[in-house]
Amino acid sequence: MFGPLIAKPGSSKDNKTGSWRTVKKPKFLQKDCIGCGLCKQICPEGCIVGEDNNTYEADLSYCKGCGLCANVCPKKDIEMVPEGEE
């Protein structure tokens, strides 16, 4: 008898790590964003997408709420807000 033993490539996508978030989530204000992309680079989950000024956002089904993006943003355009807040 075998249990789950082997994973085929691509299984990370099935693992919705957003459920690991406990207290806060990032809120992309999209006001003063200069499109530097630092938030996208620093995100350990690679779940931030965006190209130009004021277009960046996080995929909350994978975001673990670590807050690195808010911390690195030079324009303070990302805020960590409590879960449930719009």
Binding site: M1, I6, P9
Partner: protein, 389 residues
């Protein structure tokens, strides 16, 4: 062909004929002669394998894990401190369902450092998910190797097997061994056909994160498969017997049990001493030798002990603060109202178990049956309440 050889070399011969593609081990007494001889086979071109030097047993186990994942048949061997240094990897090998075969030359654990025989090393890894077979003599150690691969590589099993042989007593003991014919082994053990392996054409991952939603099932599957091997082991033993013309592996061996009121239970080479003791005794004593410690053959043991009034467990390991581990398990199978079950610890760190030791044991059984954890052959002058140098 019958040869007068050392136990380690009998094992090395068997490994050579099973044709592993990768062998890795780290020297440790009393195992060293096994891999030393295998390395010679490779150097002399008698075995086409990669013999990889490593810096520790942890690395040796990791290396054979990796090679097994690549679909190779592999071999390693160790003892005592080496085995417990491997332990992290051994649990992984079982969890990753890799059919690795290793030999453990059973030896005591430190401290104090002791290179001589007991079973504490293997018993301490009983929960690792490895099948554990205990050989009584060098013929069995030789014969268990190809049977171990056959059991491990069964696609319904895919679990590692540890063949245990008593350090020095067997590994360095010279005996006549009927060395198998290579062509018979080839017939018995086809080359390993891995049902899953690392392959760039068909990428997959092993041993990755198993979160709370899947972990429990992987352990259940290991346990169920272990239980299923209670049928695989004797089946492979029968197949071996029909091809090789001598006894194959089984879960237990019964010796003079029928009609005997007292049955001694033990494992490994000490069973030879007990058989001689029984043959020379006027009393009705039988022996139940546990060959497969994991999986533990509960039903077979219970059935074999049906008529026994007194059951005596003699073991070379102890669960400190409790009692002998084999004793605990045997006791859990029997009705203590009708059967007196005594437990004895002897032979630790290579102390010889002689007829005098067995006389002492049988006297305790008569005078105070049901002792749970009595040490035999104790020199009480060595024991003091104060620290001393």
């Amino acid at each position: 062909m019958k040869k007068f050889i050392e136990g380690s070399h009998a094992v090395a011969e068997a490994v050579r004929m099973c044709k592993p593609g990768v062998v890795s081990a780290y020297p440790i007494t009393p195992q060293t002669h096994i891999v030393e001889r295998i390395a010679k086979f490779v150097a002399d071109g008698e075995l086409n394998a990669q013999c990889v030097n490593v810096e520790s047993e942890h690395s040796a186990a990791s290396l054979v894990l990796g090679a097994s994942m690549m679909g190779e048949r592999v071999f390693t061997a160790t003892s005592s401190q080496g085995l417990i240094l491997m332990s992290e990897v051994l649990f992984n090998i079982a969890g990753m369902r890799l059919p690795i075969v290793m030999v453990c030359a059973n030896r005591a654990l430190s401290a104090p450092i002791n290179i001589w025989n007991d079973h504490q090393d293997a018993i301490s890894l009983r929960d690792s998910g490895w099948l554990q077979l205990f050989a009584e003599d060098n013929q069995e150690a030789h014969d268990f190797i190809c049977q171990a691969y056959k059991i491990a590589e069964d696609h319904k099993v895919m679990l590692p097997v540890m063949v245990n042989m008593d350090g020095f007593i067997l590994t360095h003991g010279m005996e006549v061994v009927d060395v198998a014919e290579e062509k018979t082994i080839d017939k018995f053990l086809p080359s390993y056909n891995a049902p899953y392996k690392l392959d760039i054409e068909n990428p997959m991952s092993f041993g990755l994160l198993g979160d709370p939603s899947v972990y429990l099932e992987t352990r259940l599957a290991l346990h169920k498969t272990m239980e299923e091997t209670l049928e695989t082991i004797p089946k492979v033993g029968e197949e071996f017997a029909s091809l090789f013309g001598r006894k194959g592996v089984d879960l237990i061996e019964e010796y003079n049990i029928e009609g005997s009121g007292t049955v001694v239970i033990a494992m490994g080479s000490v069973c030879g001493t007990i058989k001689d003791y029984i043959d020379g005794s006027d009393e009705d004593i039988g022996l139940l030798r546990v060959i497969s410690y994991r999986p533990f053959p509960k039903e077979r043991i219970r059935k074999a002990l049906k008529g026994a009034k007194r059951v005596v467990v003699l073991e070379k390991a102890i669960s400190l603060g409790s009692e002998g581990p084999l004793y605990t398990e045997v006791r859990s199978l029997l009705d203590t109202d009708t059967t007196a079950i005594s437990g004895f610890i002897a032979g630790l760190g290579g102390r010889d178990i002689t007829f005098e030791t067995l006389d002492e044991m049988m006297n305790v059984v008569k005078e105070s049956p049901g002792e749970r954890c009595r040490f035999l052959g104790v020199d009480s002058s060595l024991l003091k309440e104060e620290f001393y140098v």
